[in-house]
Amino acid sequence: MSGYFKELIGGTKSLFIGLGITAKYFMEPVVTMQYPHEHVEMPPRFRGHIELIPNEETGEPKCVACGMCQKGCPSGCISLAGEKREGVKGKVVTKYILNFTTCSLCGQCVESCKFGALRFSKDFNLASPRKEDFIFDLIKRLKEKN
């Protein structure tokens, strides 16, 4: 019999304590970020899709089309081609296509590049209804950024 009343009183008290906690949080400010209206800053190591790093003086990509990123990619999303030009040491990259629909952002390409030509970008606003928009031509993107 005493267990009955103890449970009743204790239970009712726990219910009122719960109400108090939610009332306290009702008064506090919101913690959400209003994303489309507010600009969101990405941290420095954020993994967006990869992009080519330009040489500071010439503005051309540092990539020498060695193909290590293509070999190291687990999903086979990179396809590139290069040619030899006179006056330039090593090859010059002419085509660099990233198929972002199969990329898993693992970082093997960035890690295997010995020439420091690849890095993660900070692009995240990439929604589109067409699949073709996700086949990135990285050389064109570099030229458009400059």
Partner: protein, 373 residues
């Protein structure tokens, strides 16, 4: 699997499909329930709706190329899966890991474990009908995700460990941020206690519901909080220490009752223990390298059979490698803890009401992509 369903002609039963699309089964799990009125007579889980052939991919990719797959199986505690695979290969090929890298691995894995338990807590109480603790738990989880994003760059499916170390080093802002997070979390735990754990409605909902005896847990090979809630004192970090866990002082919460409340309390206590490990690791963090001198690209372990188990958030995750000396696996077998945990659902849910069976399923902490791999 089809032969398990019996329809007794004397008993008026009907078959209910807790279908692949259901708000309570977290993921695509189908359970065929044979019910007598409101009571469950038999429950048969049907798996395979999200089978993506990770083990087959392990046979066709080199060791290094399999790393992104590890994060996709159990996406909530992806770093444990990374750890299991990387540690198995290091054991097979004899790769040395620098000490700073081991400490970083432990810190990030324990942070990931806390975030996985917070999400489990929110989703479990959501199944029982309380909508608010989910959002409070996600508020805390955002801090962990921001911390891990500043280190690894990803928020959910991490690909941070490499053979012989980790990918990036941490900065001082990470250390101060983690200490602040632990201070904040220690203040929030009493709030969860008062709002949810001591609530009379939740106590009535979880106490003595879904009892799993020690014998049943042993027969089905349950590990992790499911086994520790039934009195089996087994934690891979203590019983078979790997990495640098033997240097930390932490307890393993074990409860004897075996009901859903015991499993709930095991996980809430584990959050506190993880915070203790992180604090000790941050104090003892040595300086040094985080990767071996020469980056490991091609690994060619000796021919043989290797096994390594780690303690993931849901149980003991094991990786078995069969290698024949090449740069890729001959056979890669992943022992998923949730698969064994789910297999005791049939026997444990006999004669239960449907909402109680759903409370039991929630307390088992199922993540279906991990079962189906």
């Amino acid at each position: 699997m089809n032969g398990l369903l019996q329809q007794d002609v004397n008993q008026e039963t009907f078959t209910l499909n807790l279908g692949p699309q259901h708000p309570a089964t977290h993921g695509v799990l189908r359970v065929k329930l044979v019910m007598d009125g409101e009571y469950i007579v038999q429950a048969e889980p049907v798996l395979g709706y999200i089978h993506r052939m990770h083990e087959k991919m392990g046979e066709n990719r080199t060791w290094v190329k399999f790393l992104p797959n590890c994060g996709r199986m159990d996406y909530l505690c992806a770093l444990s899966y990374n750890h299991g695979y990387v540690a198995a290969l290091e054991r097979a090929a004899g790769i040395e890991v620098p000490e700073r890298a081991e400490y970083l691995r432990v810190i990030t894995v324990e942070l990931n474990r806390i975030s996985s338990h917070l999400l489990w807590f929110g989703a479990f109480v959501l199944d029982l009908g309380g909508f608010t603790p989910l959002l409070y738990a996600f508020d805390d989880r955002e801090h962990i995700l921001d911390l891990l994003e500043s280190v690894t760059g990803s928020r959910l499916t991490y690909c941070y460990f490499r053979f012989g170390g980790v990918y990036n080093d941490i900065e001082d802002s990470f250390i101060t941020g983690t200490r602040e997070f632990i201070k904040r979390m220690r203040k929030r735990m009493p709030m969860y206690d008062a709002l949810v754990t001591k609530n009379i409605i939740l106590i009535k909902r979880l106490k003595d519901i879904g009892p799993i005896s020690k014998d049943m847990a042993r027969r089905y090979g349950a590990t992790g909080p499911v086994a520790r809630g039934s009195g089996i004192n087994y934690d891979v970090r203590k019983n078979e220490p790997y990495s640098v866990y033997s240097e930390f002082d932490f307890d393993v919460p074990v409860y004897e009752e075996g009901d859903s409340m015991a499993r709930y309390m095991v996980r809430m206590d584990e959050i506190e223990q993880s915070m203790r490990i992180i604090e000790q690791a941050l104090d003892k963090l040595p300086e040094g390298e985080i990767k071996p001198k020469k980056a490991v690209k091609m690994v060619k372990p000796e021919k043989g059979d290797y096994y390594h188990a780690v303690e993931a958030a849901r149980g003991s995750f094991g990786v078995r490698l069969v290698s024949d000396g090449k740069n890729q696996a001959y056979r890669l077998k992943l022992r998923s803890p949730t698969y064994s945990n789910l297999s005791l659902f049939d026997e444990a849910s006999r004669g239960m009401l449907l909402p109680d069976a759903l409370a039991l399923m929630g307390s088992l902490d199922l993540v279906i992509p991990e079962i189906d791999r």
